[in-house]
């Protein structure tokens, strides 16, 4: 057998085999919202659009991309035959999605700064980042888990879309219901002033971790996906 020293991460090939639609979707929405905030510049709508993109749209994209991250691979059976532990395969693919979202979120905030707009009403620097980070991780976990549970990407993406839409429509109920407020994905964006925000973010993060752990349990059953 050949020598196997000094781990190399095949980043070049990961990028070359990365599905371009997974970049096109976030990039096009980034562009769309960048134009919107520019058009509405000086009006409240500019701020509303900006926080909607960072705190709501980006987490949704992350969830949908996470649903497609593992199973939409033309060489999946070959990948499963490689000496890569399942946890690492899951982590590598989700990290790539996460990286795309992080770049989108940070560059969009930089762009807002350049055009003289700020998300400061959401709180300090940490609060502004948690406002998109927490729902992003939660929906990524949900999307990935349900895609693996259904052994197809579509159930995961649909579940993310349904959760996202139902919370968007019922945001007031979620924000003020005694139980619902802890599962409300956009509290950091729409109700940052509520004292339950930290508890909400803790619960969402915990659930996100539970989803990811469950996804790891499922990805070990590789034959389900072939």
């Amino acid at each position: 057998m050949m020598s196997m020293n000094m781990k190399t991460y095949p980043f070049r090939y990961v990028l070359k085999t990365y599905r371009m639609d997974q970049l096109i979707l976030p990039a096009s929405l980034w562009g769309l919202f960048a134009i919107l905030v520019l058009i509405f510049r000086g009006q409240d709508s500019a701020y509303q659009s900006a926080r909607a993109f960072v705190g709501m749209v980006l987490p949704m994209i992350a969830g949908i991309l996470a649903a497609y991250a593992v199973l939409e691979d033309p060489a999946l059976e070959l990948q499963f035959s490689m000496p890569t532990p399942p946890w690492r395969m899951l982590a590598e693919r989700l990290c790539l999605v996460f990286l795309v979202i992080v770049v989108c979120a940070l560059t969009f905030q930089l762009y807002l700064g350049v055009i003289g707009l700020s998300l400061q009403p959401l709180g300090g620097l940490a609060a502004r980042q948690l406002a998109w980070l927490v729902p992003t991780l939660n929906l990524m976990g949900l999307g990935c888990l349900l895609a693996l549970a259904g052994a197809r990407s579509i159930p995961g993406a649909m579940a993310v879309g349904l959760v996202w839409l139902s919370q968007l429509i019922g945001n007031s109920w979620f924000a003020h219901n005694l139980v619902g407020r802890y599962f409300y994905l956009y509290m950091g964006t729409t109700h940052a002033e509520l004292p339950q925000l930290r508890g909400n973010q803790l619960v969402l993060l915990m659930f996100g971790l539970v989803y990811l752990f469950s996804a790891w349990v499922l990805i070990r059953k590789q034959e389900r996906y072939l």
Partner: protein
């Protein structure tokens, strides 16, 4: 090298349960081993279990000392495995060289110079050196299969599993592919799964026949051929009706004096001019399936 004991695999449960593998016992040593069986026999399930991708419902699989029931052992074992799946998915925008290089990295070959030499070697071995820089999406089915075997070989595996490698290839590509496999079998286990009898006969010293999840024969291709001794007949007739009295027509030849049928069955003496003839491997396989009650699968 490979020890399979009482291997069972069931999909689903209750009334919808399907037994894909049922009490498989098999020992496979170095060299080329053929697994023959009709479509749906359970070959791909067995190959996936041996590749560490699928998990048995019951039973044990030991490969080179690795117990595949253990996840850590399975991961370690995959570093010495070469696997060519039946449905070979690839990344069409990578060139042949890039694809094999990528798989080499995934297999843990992290020394660039050594990896490059090995990638060159395997591409040469499968006759793709001249087109190594071309994107896979422009390749024919046969060329893609050769890229597949190159990636399977790149880590110099001790166990090479190839599942239906010649399906869909033209005769020339099939011969070429078989020759590559024979060359590789000198110092490793090469496990060839196929439903094409000829592929086994031309390449394997030992083989097994799998049908409906059970091993119904183990031995050499010669032993399988001998099973049909005295059971193979030729009948030449001008009648438009095929001889079908408990006999299986293996082949037909249109001659000036009528149609010559090659038949496998207990007796063809009721047909005028029936001649007993020397069996081939395909006859042995057909007789095996008939005599063990699996004829419908032939």
């Amino acid at each position: 090298m490979i020890e399979i004991r009482n291997l069972n695999k069931q999909y689903g449960s209750g009334a919808q349960a399907v037994k894909a593998l049922n009490g498989i016992h098999l020992t496979i040593n170095e060299g080329m081993f053929g697994l023959l069986g009709p479509n749906g026999a359970g070959k791909t399930t067995l190959m996936r279990i041996l590749a560490g991708i699928a998990h048995p419902t019951a039973g044990n699989v030991l490969v080179a000392g690795y117990n595949l029931a253990d996840e850590k052992a399975r991961t370690d074992y995959k570093a010495m495995l070469g696997y060519l799946p039946q449905e070979l998915g690839m990344y069409p925008d990578l060139s042949a060289r890039q694809f094999v290089d990528y798989m080499a990295i995934l297999k843990g070959m992290h020394i660039p110079g050594q990896r490059k030499r090995r990638v060159d070697d395997v591409l040469e071995m499968v006759g793709l050196s001249d087109v190594a820089e071309r994107k896979i999406k422009g390749f024919s089915g046969g060329m893609k299969r050769r890229v597949g075997i190159a990636q399977a070989l790149v880590n110099d595996p001790r166990v090479l599993i190839v599942d239906e490698p010649t399906a869909g290839l033209d005769p020339e590509e099939r011969i070429r592919f078989r020759n590559i496999l024979v060359d590789l079998a000198a110092n490793r286990v090469v496990l060839l799964s196929t439903h094409i009898v000829e592929d086994i006969g031309q390449t394997c010293r030992n083989m097994a026949v799998l049908s409906k999840g059970r091993i119904i024969f183990t031995g050499s291709p010669r032993e399988l051929t001998e099973l049909a001794e005295g059971r193979v007949w030729t009948v030449t007739t001008q009648s438009p009706r095929k001889p079908n009295n408990g006999l299986t027509v293996v082949s037909m030849l249109h001659l000036a004096e009528g149609t010559q049928y090659r038949l496998v069955g207990a007796s063809a003496e009721e047909y005028d001019g029936a001649l007993s003839t020397q069996p081939g491997l395909e006859d042995g396989y057909v007789w095996l399936m008939k005599s063990t009650g699996y004829e419908s699968a032939v």
